[in-house]
Symmetry: C2
Subunit: 218 residues, 2 copies
DNA sequence: CTGCATCCACTTTGATACTG
DNA sequence: CAGTATCAAAGTGGATGCAG
């Protein structure tokens, strides 16, 4: 059942042994946003075979990255969440995501976007230096995706779904019917003014400064 | 020949499609230190099947991460090196390596350490905040491994082999015969004073401050 | 309906041998 | 030195089954 390890006493090799297998880091990505049920994970990872998902969850649990919780009274069921060790993967996830985002070409037909993916890309694009001292809350809508980003004195809290309170600015990206509601598409729309704004419209400029990725990748 | 992609338009998914396959990031790690020949890579990656190495190198070249150079006159042969795109993977490698280093237990019998692995771990353990303004050069010896770390006004240059000039401090870790010359073992030896020092001995303290990983992992 | 387990065709990996 | 060839074993993707 255990895949052979790399035989190297090295941090990178260890990391790859623990979370380097196919689909593993995408599962961790989805759990980074919030705990999820088995079926939520399946829905967010289109194409993952159910047995692979089950296997990965067991391996990640074994590795101490993921925790399996049996939800009690309210809505019984199984919930998967990151352990503290798993949460510490986020810097690595963001670094990899940043690099990968720069290598993204155009979306392939059939490509999928999830709110989790968009949120990760937003976090990866976050520039603390530009956000210094900024306090503002944003809610972003793109087709059926909704996420929020709350800046409190330069600190970012972000996640899927509407903002906790009333957002200072709500950005609704105009996404064509044949276009993916990807992070890139949202930023592109915002840059071109193809957005509906509600609230303090002047904050759009701030949003773009704080959340625009380094290189729009050509 | 192409492995199915993840069907997500997301930076992380893209990164995993490009460098997420088995052995790929370890190959990139070795090339991060310096360009290498096919047989060097084989030697540094104990256990990698030769056909897998050949396949990965082709895929990484295809992905624009690795460049295959046919060395000209001096010592003819093939050399693999990272492209600029590949070099930009280093932050992600360090982040993953840092996380993995925190999850390292004790070395398993049969584990291997390479100078490249130790160098990566040293880079991952580097704390710019502690190095602020520091200028000093170190050469580290542990059994048959030699590497150097040169700080110039807080900026780090490091690699395998002896330091470019005469190092300010040469640290020779006393590693038991049955112990791996891993980064962890080197730091442990340095902390316990089990080192031979040559040069400005008082710099050992600086070295430890600048290069000690956050959590020795219990 | 959720949360998997099983089965099977197919692909990738690992180990070894061999070649220009 | 720099790979290619071959083949068994393991892993993956897809479909389906099934208990709570």
């Amino acid at each position: 059942m255990k895949r052979r390890d790399f035989g190297q006493y090295c941090g990178l090799a260890r990391a790859l042994e623990l979370v380097g297998e196919r689909w593993a880091l995408l599962i961790v990505r989805d759990l980074t946003i919030r705990p999820r049920r088995y079926t939520d994970l399946q829905a967010g990872l289109p194409g993952i075979p159910t047995n692979v998902l089950a296997t990965r969850l067991k391996e990640l649990e074994q590795a101490g990255v993921v925790e399996r919780r049996v939800a009690p009274a309210p809505q019984r069921g199984v919930v998967y969440a990151l352990t503290p060790v798993g949460q510490e993967l986020e810097p690595a996830l963001l670094a990899l995501g940043r690099w990968g985002a720069a290598q993204l070409g155009d979306p392939q037909p059939g490509d999928h976007v999830s709110a989790e993916g968009v949120t990760l890309n937003l976090r990866a694009a976050f520039r603390p230096a530009e956000a210094e001292g900024v306090t503002a809350s944003f809610e972003i809508h793109a087709r059926d995706i909704v996420l929020h980003a709350v800046l409190t004195d330069g600190k970012l809290e972000s996640g899927v779904g509407p903002a906790p309170g009333k957002p200072d600015l709500t950005i609704t990206a105009q996404i064509a019917d044949d276009e993916l509601a990807s992070y890139r598409a949202i930023i592109r729309a915002a840059k071109c003014g193809l957005v509906d704004l509600a609230g303090r419209r002047e904050l759009l400029e701030t949003f773009l400064k704080v959340f625009t990725p380094a290189r729009p990748a050509s």
